[in-house]
């Protein structure tokens, strides 16, 4: 059965089909180091916590890392930063392999199709995503999957814009990055990312209000509602201000990028997804700003993803299923794999010779 995998800065989510349902398995992309004692190990075993034991201690993985960080008064470490593998974390790759393996499991058949999401190249910082892309692809191939990568924005389009012939703009507002893709009939015309997302909002609010970042994150995730009417000096007010700033930044960069291409003269719907788009009021505010923005393309409709948190994983699953169906009839796969597949075919051909 094909699978879709959303590898995000904050969460790793796998989507797979089981009967008539889609099962989303979500795990926090985080880990925490603890001293290795018998008592600690017994406690963790009893609590069914995901951990690994190494020479210099224990590493808790996933959601439990966040939970126990509070208990042990330590900070949870994140293998990814700004949408890609963190260069500051030496253990990032092995930790991510373990978390990814726990989320997607082992393939049920040989070379099971897996589509994983990766960010597009950011346009506002000097950051290259190629290493992250290739490393994630290699990690999943090592687990015996037929792995392919797809842009996050394109995955949103696959998930939410099927009624519009997969033509439109897909925006995924994540923790580390915001990804934007413009596609026409499922073919990406433009893809980019900006290095601002939920984490940027947390950092700015934390700096402005003096509150710890974890407190801001918790406030944002638990009780935040983006409203013009907030208590003066409250973190909710600061969160709303920085959410508005993020939206303006996204729209400005989108408009700038649109100058560099010549899109077809059709009306494009816009689909918005991503964990950072969950707060109440986000969609209404973004819709208002987008309508006021006068973009270089005509916007027909602005759509909120049915499930913003899982839309990217769902889009990856759709791509994977399409790939699998295409294999049955000998057709080719969804976009973005043409380059890699051509190279592999060339290698196979040369080997045969």
């Amino acid at each position: 059965m094909p699978k879709g995998l959303d590898i995000g800065t904050m969460n790793i989510i796998c989507a797979e089909r089981e009967g008539e349902d889609i099962v989303f398995t979500q795990q926090r992309n985080a880990f925490m180091n603890l001293d290795s004692t018998d008592l600690t190990k017994n406690m963790l075993d009893t609590s069914h916590v995901l951990y690994i034991e190494e020479e210099n201690g224990i590493s808790l993985l996933g959601e439990d890392a966040f939970k126990f960080a509070t208990i042990f008064e330590k900070e949870a470490r994140r293998p990814m930063s700004r949408g890609i593998i963190s260069p500051r974390e030496k253990e990032a790759i092995p930790i991510m392999k373990l978390i990814v393996e726990s989320v997607i499991g082992r393939p049920k058949s040989n070379k099971e199709v897996l589509y994983l999401s990766t960010p597009a190249a950011p346009i506002d910082v000097d950051l290259d995503v190629l290493y992250h892309k290739k490393t994630m692809e290699a990690l999943t191939k090592a687990l015996n999957y037929d792995a392919h990568v797809i842009d996050e924005g394109l995955a949103v389009i696959y998930s939410e814009l099927s009624n519009y012939n997969f033509t439109g703009v897909g925006i995924s507002v994540g923790a580390g990055l915001t990804n934007v893709t413009l596609a026409y009939l499922a073919t990406p015309l433009m893809s980019f990312s900006i290095a601002r997302g939920g984490d940027w909002i947390d950092e700015q609010v934390s700096k402005s209000t003096g509150l710890p970042k974890e407190h801001v994150t918790a406030t944002k995730e638990a009780t935040s509602k983006l409203s013009k009417q907030v208590k003066l000096g409250s973190p909710e007010g600061a969160i709303t201000i920085y959410y508005e700033a993020l939206m303006t930044y996204i729209i400005q960069n989108l408009n700038n990028r649109l100058r560099e291409i010549a899109p077809p003269k059709v009306a494009f719907p816009v689909a918005i997804a991503g964990g950072s788009s969950l707060p109440d009021g986000f969609f209404e505010l973004f819709e208002k700003k987008l309508n006021e923005a006068k973009l270089r393309i005509q916007i027909s409709k602005i759509i909120r993803a049915r499930d913003p948190m899982h839309a990217v994983a769902r889009g990856c699953l759709i791509a994977a299923k399409t790939q699998e169906e295409g294999k049955k009839f000998g057709t080719v796969k969804p976009q973005q794999q043409t380059q890699t597949q051509k190279t592999e075919n060339t290698k196979k051909t040369s080997k045969k010779k």
């Binding site: 075993d45 690994i52 726990s102 191939k141 499922a186 295409g326």
Partner: protein, 270 residues
């Protein structure tokens, strides 16, 4: 280059259309009224047989109609020409000056028509006339120059000039494509990663937070159709056979059920 000139002409025309239609209409009305007043004044000269000893009232009416007519004619011409903001300012100033001159003439002709007032009034009127004339002349010349740029200065080569940013972007994109192609040839050896050898124990069976959603994921079919329209798909042949049989039976049944009138009609329709 030619295309650019044509585009600028179209832009000019569209701008004229957008802004100038009511102004042009007003200008043409003023022009017509001016012509009519000049005609009236000329007719009055002949009717009253204007001479040195003519009735002041007659002289007043002739002079007023001619002076107002000339100014309206010039105003009309100026408004019909494509003007810049400065041009409209000139038109406004000259209209005000001429109005002042005509009002001064009308109020002072019978009682106070002496020098230096005559000089001032005449000077104001002539000044306004010359401003209108000069403004029209200047704008016409500018318009002629814009339409035929070769008559003015040598046009520089207008072929597309790529900016440094665009060139750098193209270079970056080409480099990125080359790097990605090279990276796709790499074979990663994950099993022998040094860091992994340190990890002894892993508690499996804890996959994460699970959400189950009823979803038929019909988008996959739509995506296949969008990407490969008209693609041949294999359908079960048994299904088609069954459908064909059902259709044939239906057609036969329909034929048997048809009444006498239908059969009668069918005979004559052959």
């Amino acid at each position: 280059m030619r295309g650019d000139n044509e585009n600028s002409e179209e832009l000019t025309d569209s701008k004229l259309l957008l802004r100038g239609v009511p102004v042009y209409y007003i200008g043409s009305m003023l022009f017509a009224v001016g012509i009519a007043l000049i005609g009236l004044g000329s007719a009055l000269i002949m009717i009253f047989q204007l001479h040195y000893g003519s009735d002041p009232q007659q002289i007043l009416s002739i002079v007023l109609s001619l002076s107002v007519g000339i100014i309206l004619l010039m105003l009309g011409i100026n408004l019909m020409i494509r003007e810049s903001k400065k041009g409209y300012a000139m038109i406004t100033i000259s209209a005000i000056l001429s109005m002042i001159a005509i009002i001064l003439f009308y109020t002072n002709y019978f009682s106070n028509w002496y020098y230096p007032l005559i000089g001032y009034v005449f000077g104001l009127y002539v000044l306004s006339f010359l401003i209108l004339m000069g403004n029209a002349f200047a704008n016409v010349i500018l318009w002629i120059m814009e339409k035929s740029p070769t008559t003015s200065v040598k046009v520089t080569d207008q072929s597309r000039i790529y900016t440094d940013e665009e060139i750098q972007r193209d270079i970056d994109e080409a480099t990125q494509r080359a790097v990605e192609l090279a990276a796709s040839n790499l074979q990663f050896e994950i099993d022998s990663m040094p860091e992994e050898s340190r990890f002894d124990k892993l508690v499996m069976g804890v996959r994460g937070h699970i959400t189950r959603v009823k979803d038929d994921i019909a988008e996959a079919v739509a995506l296949t159709q969008t990407m490969h329209p008209g693609e041949t798909e294999k359908w079960g042949s048994i299904g088609i056979d069954q459908a064909s049989d059902a259709l044939a039976k239906t057609m036969i049944q329909k034929k048997e059920e048809s009444g006498l009138f239908t059969r009668f009609k069918r005979i004559f329709s052959r």
